[in-house]
């Protein structure tokens, strides 16, 4: 079992909470703050479908790399495009890629973990080895390989991040299943003649929900960081479709001429990642008051 310690990926670990009042207060604070930040990002993304300060793709070379002004509240990039508008549209890509990637990881990972834990034996060993390989394979290299096979783009980034996140959910699900398998209600179900899949579906899955919800939120934080890194390397969202990562990529060579194009999307990433991880921590406290971690 020692190998599954890897499942506790440190970056996913929540803030550690003390005892009593302090802890539940902080838990609620985390939850509130996280929810606020994420709501703001989601609203910005939704608003971008209805209204934008200006056309995010309209170029105006006369105002390139301009500092914030009334017309361009966050300044402009090297083509004179409005940074605020691009930031708002970029929120869509960020949320979208993050959600789908974690969706892939959740679906695939839970399935593998559940089967592995429930069936056990040789199959368990084999599946966990595959999960180990995935874990040992740097996600960035995987994204690059995928980008070369298909083409770089949002889909490739989602799949790569999703696959790289599979081990987290697989291990979480497996350990949930292992610990629940021997519990009374499962034994009872089995005694009553319920089949494997049915037990899994009716009894075990619902009990594993809380840790999974928490993990989804925390994984979203990681996925968004990963998407930004991939787009920064030119492996994520294609140019012209604004995403925070590719805004940063383009800004890199103009930093000496204007800091805003690099500053603005970076701060947006920080806010969003912080939002998801606070939310995850808050949810952990709310859903699982027994948790020590």
């Amino acid at each position: 079992m020692a190998s599954s310690r890897l499942a506790r990926r440190p970056e996913l670990g929540g803030s550690i909470t003390g005892a009593g009042m302090v802890r539940s207060f902080r838990g609620r604070l985390n939850l509130t703050l996280g929810a606020l930040l994420i709501t703001a990002v989601v609203l910005a993304a939704l608003l971008s479908f209805l209204w934008l300060p200006s056309d995010p793709n309209a170029m105006d070379f006369s105002v390139r790399l301009a500092p914030p002004s009334l017309e361009h509240p966050l300044g402009t990039d090297q083509f004179g495009r409005d940074l605020l508008s691009r930031l708002m549209v970029g929120a869509r890509a960020t949320l979208y890629v993050g959600l789908i990637a974690v969706g892939i990881a959740l679906g695939l990972g839970s399935l593998v973990g559940a089967i592995s834990g429930f069936v056990g034996g040789v199959l368990d060993d084999l599946l966990m080895r595959i999960v180990d390989v995935l874990y040992a394979f740097p996600p960035i290299l995987m994204a690059i390989l995928l980008a070369a096979i298909y083409r770089p783009g949002a889909l490739t980034a989602m799949v790569a991040i999703g696959i790289a996140t599979v081990p987290v959910f697989a291990r979480l699900m497996r350990s949930s299943v292992l610990s629940l398998k021997e519990r009374d209600f499962v034994e009872a179900g089995r005694a009553l003649g319920a089949t494997g899949p049915r037990i899994l579906w009716r009894h075990i899955l619902p009990s594993a929900t809380s840790p999974i919800i928490v993990q989804v939120s925390l994984s979203l934080a990681v996925a968004i960081l990963a998407e930004a890194a991939l787009s920064f390397l030119g492996l994520g969202t294609p140019p012209r479709v604004p995403s925070w990562g590719n805004m940063l990529r383009e800004a890199q060579s103009f930093m000496a001429l204007s800091p805003y194009p690099a500053l603005v999307p970076g701060l947006a990433i920080v806010v969003t990642v912080l939002g998801w991880s606070l939310l995850g921590d808050g949810l952990r406290d709310a859903l699982d008051p027994q948790s020590r971690r």
């Binding site: 960035i140 290299l141 096979i149 390397l233 930093m255």
Partner: protein, 314 residues
């Protein structure tokens, strides 16, 4: 214990082999031909064919993989298709950048995180604790490559103190080499510092709640001794795990940081290798990454046993 170690070792080897196979298969699927890439836009078809033969690309995939595997088992990773030099030599050169970078980043992370984590746990209830916890929460949310850009903006563009990128070799100037690694190590280390702070605080709290620490306090031992001798030693179990796993994160995170600071490290070598479809080089690199990751988690497990005798291996 021994049988556990053997089993663990065997499964580690299997993981590494599967990773190598995966890369090889992926490289076969990718469009793009190493000879075509080396020769570029002005290549003549005849020279592409000649180069393909010269590089041994006309050998079918299965024997090619077996050849490579045979060589790798004997410690011979072949020659890079792109650089036409032994892969081992190329990797050794890049390690001169990557190893100091990872160690430097880890040193920065530990120097910041261990004291902060311990203080935060001991001062639970005071204003210091939530401050440190919030800082750690924030630190973990900052993308390392963006932090790198901001460090460049401030320390290189504004102040002109440190190079914005590039790498001075150790042979040419050790001071130059260190200077070119400072900002990247900070960018890489701060994110891990956030993680380690949180983990240190957590395991310290866990230990402080244990009876024997309370007993030690009750016996009237001065608090600093209690902390250092008893608590920290026990908390180390978790901390060591976290540091080991952080090392893995550093290896992977370095790929992007090397790109930001234009450092000729392992990560950029891997990117180039994929770009050039240089499979001997990429295979060896992935093998190295996989081995490092598997070995680190192996060491962590063993240390676990040494530091915490309560853990039994089944």
């Amino acid at each position: 214990m021994l049988s556990y170690l053997v089993r663990r070792f065997a499964s580690a080897l299997l993981s590494i082999f599967l990773a190598a196979l995966l890369v090889f298969a992926a490289l076969l699927t990718i469009p793009g031909d190493p000879a075509e890439i080396i020769l570029g836009l002005n290549a003549s078809p005849g020279s592409v064919t000649a180069l393909r033969e010269q590089l041994g690309l006309d050998v079918p995939p299965v024997p090619r993989f077996l050849n490579w595997l045979g060589g790798a088992l004997r410690g011979d990773f072949g020659d890079s298709l792109n650089y036409r030099r032994p892969v081992s030599e190329l990797i050794a050169g890049r390690l001169q950048v990557s190893v100091p970078l990872a160690l430097g980043a880890m040193a920065i992370a530990c120097l910041i995180a261990l004291p902060l984590g311990v203080i935060s746990a001991l001062r639970q209830g005071s204003w210091l604790d939530p401050l440190i916890v919030s800082l750690a929460q924030l630190g973990a949310a900052v993308p390392s490559f963006w932090l790198g850009l901001m460090l460049i903006l401030f320390f290189s563009v504004e102040l002109g103190w440190l190079p914005a990128g590039g790498y001075m070799t150790w042979e040419r100037s050790p001071i130059g080499a260190i200077r070119s690694l400072i900002l990247p190590a900070i960018a890489l280390g701060l994110g891990q510092a956030a993680v380690i702070t949180r983990m240190t605080r957590a395991s310290m709290l866990e230990v402080l709640r244990q009876d024997y620490v309370r007993t030690a306090s009750a016996k009237g031992l001065p608090q600093s001794r209690v902390v250092l001798v008893h608590s920290l030693r026990n908390a180390l179990v978790t901390i060591v795990t976290v540091i080991g796993l952080s090392m893995v994160q550093l290896l992977v995170g370095a790929i992007v940081i090397e790109q930001v600071f234009a450092l000729p490290g392992l990560g950029r070598l891997a990117l180039t290798a994929i770009g050039a479809r240089d499979f001997p080089l990429l295979q060896a690199e992935v093998l190295l990454y996989a081995t490092a990751i598997v070995t680190l988690s192996f060491i962590v497990d063993v240390l676990y046993g040494i530091l915490d005798p309560r853990i039994r291996y089944s």
